[in-house]
Assembly symmetry: C2
Homo-oligomer: 154 residues x 2
DNA sequence: TTTGATGCAAAGACTTTGCATGCTT
DNA sequence: AAGCATGCAAAGTCTTTGCATCAAA
């Protein structure tokens, strides 16, 4: 559904970037646009190829550097994967990921389901962990690893 | 406490390896011994250096290949990290990790605390996720990201 | 005008592979 | 004896960096 929605080449990013002290360049606009437009957690190379195909010229080094800048600014998030190349994600609110063991693909758990999961964790369990470990928990990363069920339709 | 416990150079690994269809070589024994003996989730290079220091000669390529063999056999687990190099873990039962944002170091959450956390998640929330996503959840990876509290002792 | 961003190529970090040799089974 | 493991070096992948040029503020 959201698979091939067109990338708006110039969303209202000026303000967003300004807020985060990022210069608003063409490359940053199209890169962030592409990252926002997908929920497939692309790798740097995915994004590079996607933008090249769309004639939005950008160099691979800039893709890497810019994604890194987005992450520092809190506009994106890097997801480490077992397969070597990092994947990126424009939405930064706490959410869960599912990872398909077969393909390595990472996807988001829909907000409401994720919230239900997080809300189910009793606060005192978190506090117990924090005090026992002497650790401030700032973020909970949860990944559901498994595989999609076979499609049973004939 | 378990920081510097001596690595038993020849634990009873013959059987373990046999069960998992792994040849029992000197390199595999010392490598698995070293991995078992620590809870610091070492990188391949950590292990290589540690063993080299102990005169347990092994090549870096063999460390990589052998860790990969352990993972395939289910005797170890590879943890992807944001910083590039993978970390390894000999214990494979479901457990939680904490990651220090400052140092990048990953550590285990003690079994009992982890269990308390996992047990706090209602089964029906999991089932809800599975049916909504049409996905079989085989493993739950949870990482508590944050930082250790400053030591207040004077 | 100043400062930071971009692009290119080169370097760097981490990991895997090809192949000859050696050790386990 | 057969077959997998090892070690080395080379190749591969992914990412970062140096530096000259260019664009945003």
């Amino acid at each position: 559904m959201s698979e091939h929605q067109p990338v708006n080449p110039e969303p209202d990013l000026r303000e967003l970037f300004a807020t985060h002290h990022l210069r608003c360049t063409r490359q940053r606009r199209v890169l962030y646009g592409a990252l926002m437009a997908t929920d497939s957690h692309p790798t740097a190379d995915h994004l590079f190829q996607e933008l090249s195909r769309r004639d939005h010229s950008i160099s691979l080094a800039t893709v890497y550097n810019t994604l890194e800048a987005f992450c520092r600014a809190g506009l994106a998030q890097r997801i480490a994967t077992p397969s070597g190349s990092a994947r990126y994600d424009a939405s930064v609110h706490n959410h869960l990921h599912i990872r398909d063991e077969n393909s390595g693909v990472v996807a988001d758990v829909p907000e409401d389901l994720g919230k239900r999961f997080l809300d189910a964790i009793p606060r005192e369990v978190i506090q117990q962990l924090e005090s026992h470990l002497d650790f401030d928990i700032r973020e909970l990363k949860v990944e559901l690893v498994g595989r999609y069920r076979p499609d049973m339709r004939q």
